[in-house]
């Protein structure tokens, strides 16, 4: 299972894909995204990190937003993947899978051919 803390530089590189993964399950709001990521071993994602990322996804046309009335509290801004966003998520997820498999195979090799200088 998760072995926190993951190196922060790994998380930074993967955060955008992880956020799109949460949104691929359906529209949701910022704190719920943050809580889902924390439950899945990504540690605490602060609002100061999450919302600028969501803003960049929105600027890129991968996400749309909508304010919805809250239940007993202030309204919440929901984020939804667009068709382009879903396609981008699937593309990046497949790429990540290949990269992870390649990296695991490389790291697991006991014999590595090295080029002689």
């Amino acid at each position: 299972m998760s072995t926190l803390p993951w190196p922060s530089e790994w998380l930074r590189g993967l955060l955008s894909l992880a956020v799109m993964r949460v949104l691929a399950a359906g529209p949701t709001y910022g704190y719920a995204i943050s809580a889902t990521l924390e439950d899945n071993g990504f540690g605490t994602i602060k609002g100061g990190t999450l919302y600028p990322l969501l803003g960049r996804l929105e600027s890129a046309g991968l996400v749309t937003t909508q304010w919805r009335a809250g239940e007993g509290g202030p309204g919440r801004k929901y984020f939804r993947l667009t068709e382009d966003g879903m396609a981008e998520f699937e593309r990046q997820a497949a790429l990540w899978g290949e990269f992870a498999a390649h990296t695991s195979a490389f790291l697991g090799n006991t014999i590595i051919e090295t080029k002689e200088s």
């Binding site: 910022g30 602060k46 609002g47 100061g48 600027s59 304010w67 801004k77």
Partner: protein, 199 residues
Amino acid sequence: MADETTTDRQWYDEFTLSLRYRDVPGTEIGDAVAQVESHCSDSGESPAAAFGDPRAYADSLEFPRDDAAGAGHWLPVLGPIVAFLVALQLGIPIPRAAVEGTTVPVTWGSLGATVVIVLMMTMLWFRTRLVLENRLVGGVTIIGGTVLAVLSAALLRESAFDAPVLVMTVLVVALFAYAAVGMWRQRATLNDPIVDPRG
């Protein structure tokens, strides 16, 4: 020590001001503030705990209008103000020349003051925060610039060129007209309230 509410209020004030300095529209500021409030309500955190320094957070956000920033954005605002100040400055010697029946002398000092005015307004527009919050930079820009413009106009009395009263009057009236029309068109920009998207 300030209580939490006061600290939070200061955070929101600083955040809002930082976005204003970036010329972010009121609707987008309202959206960003509501987003922080909503997140903090859900997480139980203070804005400072969840979002860190308000200026840094404001700088990290992207807005659609950022892409439009360029001459097409600032010229309609800055142009009329500069035109008004230049017209005011060039117009001063016209009545005397008209009464005396001479040409209007445009002095090197007058031209120098015009350049200083343009530089001051440009600095104010592009480095608003620096000019207003840094006493040294603000003092040099506003007080120093004003003194330099006045001294330039008062001391450099040598004529760069003379122009007929009619030509100068037409030029000054045209500048005032451009300034008036430009400022009228920008009135909507000046009235840009922060709108909460939650109603």
